[in-house]
Symmetry: C2
Subunit: 396 residues, 2 copies
């Protein structure tokens, strides 16, 4: 009855919203949300920063800033990305309203209705919804524990019309929890060179590695960018400071950056200056590194507790990869078993998680489920995992 | 060379960005930016709020929130809108990343490429860029000092294909500074009833009236919404707290709201919780009303100073309407005179403003210019206006 546009017709309410309501009920143990626990945020560090902000800087936080970001923060993030070897000087950096906005903007800059985007399956649901909102044809490629399956990717790359974007989350994938091997990244890059297809490399979890020895797995492909393979690299403060700041970034070639800046200008003019001022001080006062050390230790401990409980309780038919970092574990049920049935039983007994089809760009495959260990209190993990394992047993 | 989308091709760099760089030079008197002066922000009120935030609330500020907004803020804004007579209970309220995002979302929800949007001319440049970014056909209708010209609007409404959206900024228009008369609003509503065209009523400046007697001119059309005239009403904290918070809102019918929520979810997941928490306390601790009283008085004084200077110095051939509120004055030069020439001369002498074509959706008409009195220090207004008047004299 209202004259809605065609593009909005492709967007559906996700089940995640309803799950999140359950997830905040105090009587439910939640492994659902892909977010930090409220107790882990660096509130004291930010208190101290806020208390000592000069008035002029505070006032700047109340004001509009440039569309591309608060200039001191742009420099601070550039310095930080330089330590990761990223080609900051050959690219431009934009501060975005979360990395989801960066993904959304890149999509708008390249996608006309019907254009193809290759994603992983499973895939981050925010990415999927951004792609659908521009009426992209999503073409999902399966992954294994080392990354996207190269033969399948090659097949899809060769199909006509050529895809415009390949969207990958190589570091502690959401939901799959895996990290790409060096070889797999190299093969992806070899395969994509010279095709004039955008590699959208999404890296919100790379800092959350559990062992120092795995750190070099987190080196972005963007570090080895060449002229014949344009890479748009996105990152976020959501997992290393707080999602409520709504700050992410996009590192892209100047010609791409310019288009992205125009799009952002028409979307929200600029990201919140108030939180950009705080994030800038957080970086410049060297508060990030000690906080990351704390997060790595904390999430590793939670993952270990969860892994132990799983080994004790989960039927052998259920397969998963022990993650080397990030927030997630991803469980493969035998074919034909419906994770939604297990979820229903779990909710009744007091534990909640997210079913697999949520992360299938086509919304079908459901013999998978995701547990996030990032926000569940440590003393609740055992009880919650047991509830889910018991629910699984009823269906196996 | 990069495979850009068609929609991004319609977006052009605005001259405003370059002007803004000039506007922050300390040796230049700026009437360019449509923003408050940094000295006017309620930093002390927010300091006090921040200092007394309970830890649990502060932690919530670091976390994701619902896409539609931080629930206590939604309620607080609803209460505030209720005092303005708005039909809060028959509609849904969404917190957005500035009101520009609300405009962008409504556009995405209704516009397919080639769909028509009727705007005023002149028109808020953020609106124009959002509309262009979705490849809308913009059909501008002139305004006079009482609002949009009804005969022209009727003609455009009757043209086929019917427009999908009519976008109006009736209260202290940017850039024109005018406020719609009661009669004009009634005629707009009478004309639009039963056509199934969305009225997008943008109200970021309504609170900044200079005389209590004009307050009832600021009653939104949305107050008198009927079933046969869907109105999407947008507002903002940018002018009544600070643009750096990046908070605005959208009040819309539930069916429209649901689509908008899906679009927002794919854009930035949620607006900054951190600043939503602060804005919520600002409203609930009754800090808005005294701050508004201060702002009305301050902006009225600036406008009066400017009006006096203008009467003294501006050639009679230049016409303008003395504003009853808001941030702007809008100057009509005789036909054939190019505001860009005047701007060049003014910049040389040390004052900057925005030329008319910036606000013409077609980017052509340039015998107009805008002065903002909102962020120019009071003791600089006289000098700045004199520079501009002298520049004008050279071309008349």
């Amino acid at each position: 009855m209202y004259p809605f546009s065609q593009s909005v017709g492709q967007l559906r309410t996700s089940e995640i919203r309803d799950l999140m309501k359950l997830a905040t009920r105090p009587d439910i143990i939640s492994f659902a949300g892909g977010m930090p626990n409220n107790d882990l945020f660096p509130t004291e560090a930010i208190d101290e920063i806020y208390k000592n902000l000069p008035k002029k800087i505070k006032q700047a936080g109340f004001q509009y800033g440039p569309t591309s970001g608060y200039p001191p923060l742009i420099e601070a993030v550039k310095d930080y990305l330089r330590t990761k070897g990223l080609p900051v000087d050959e690219n431009e950096l934009m501060i975005t309203t979360g990395s989801l906005q960066a993904i959304n903007i890149v999509t708008k800059v390249f996608i006309d209705p019907g254009d193809r985007i290759i994603t992983e399956t499973p895939c981050f649901i925010g990415g999927t919804s951004a792609f659908k909102s521009y009426q992209a044809e999503i073409d999902p490629v399966p992954i294994d524990e080392d990354g996207i399956i190269i033969e399948e990717l090659e097949k899809k790359l060769n199909q006509k019309p050529a895809p415009k974007i390949v969207y990958l989350t190589p570091y502690f994938h959401n939901p799959a929890g895996i990290i790409y091997s060096r070889e797999r990244k190299q093969k992806v890059m070899d395969l994509m060179k010279g095709r004039n297809i955008i590699l959208l490399e999404d890296d919100p979890y790379g800092e959350i590695y559990f062992n120092e020895t795995d750190k070099d797995l987190t080196v972005p492909m963007k570090v080895n960018e060449t002229d014949d393979l344009p890479i748009c690299y996105t990152g976020s403060f959501s997992k290393i400071l707080g999602p409520g700041m709504r700050l992410g970034w996009l590192l892209a070639k100047p010609e791409i950056f310019q288009k992205c800046e125009l799009v952002k200008q028409s979307m929200d003019a600029c990201s919140p200056t108030f939180t950009q001022v705080l994030a800038n001080e957080f970086l410049r006062q060297n508060k990030l590194e000690p906080y990351l050390a704390f997060l790595r230790e904390t999430y590793k401990r939670r993952m270990d507790i969860m892994q132990n409980c799983l080994e004790e309780t989960m039927p052998k038919e259920v397969k998963w990869v022990k993650p080397k970092g990030g927030f997630y574990m991803w469980f493969h049920l035998p074919e034909g078993i419906d994770a939604t049935e297990i979820l229903k039983d779990s909710i009744e007994k007091g534990a909640v998680f997210v079913v697999g089809k949520t992360f299938d760009p086509h919304g079908v495959k459901n013999n998978w489920f995701r547990l996030a260990f990032s926000h569940t209190p440590e003393d609740k993990i055992h009880e919650g995992v047991e509830i889910i394992a018991n629910a699984v047993k009823k269906f196996i």
